[in-house]
């Protein structure tokens, strides 16, 4: 059986999408705010850096 180039492209994109979907566990999907971001967000407005 022969596949056209567009079929290979579709298969490759689907495989990549499937692989990346499984790479991130659901519980870790939410980005962890680092300490510097938290400090920045909690700084009083006058002294924010």
């Amino acid at each position: 059986m022969r596949f056209s180039p567009s079929t290979w492209t579709i298969l490759a994109v689907a495989a990549l999408a499937f692989a990346s979907f499984g790479a991130v566990p659901a519980a870790q999907a939410q980005a962890v705010k680092n300490a510097d971001d938290i400090i920045s967000g909690l700084q009083p407005l006058k002294t924010r850096f």
Partner: protein
Amino acid sequence: MRSSETSRLGRSRLRNCTGVAKLIQESEAPNVDIQIFFAFDSADILPDARPSLDELGKALSDPKLQGATFLIAGHTDAKGSDDYNLALSQRRAEAVKLFLVKTYHVDDGRLSAIGFGKEQLKNKDNPFADENRRVQIVNTGAQGVAEGK
């Protein structure tokens, strides 16, 4: 205690919480939302929550925030009754406070824990979204000012 009395107390507390939340919003106090993972129907902190809590602990221990006081506000999504969510969010806010005091030795007097239940949804368009289940840290000012010093 009778259930009607419990419910009345819950509604009274809810009004107080809403008042505090309104004050915070109006004062535009600096705040950050942090997603903390808890076991279902529990205030037990899951291992997945540890990285977020460690970063929060480091931040609140940093000299740049020395002397500031913070409100740890617990929020739930819209599943369940008002009373149930208020109690659960309160226990979760207290669990975060306990973690910060025990693990990072943050001064107990700098932290207040209040559960707001489902009153302050982050995503009002989707009341059941995960992002509504969160802990919000609010800078409530300098310790000396808060204590009237």
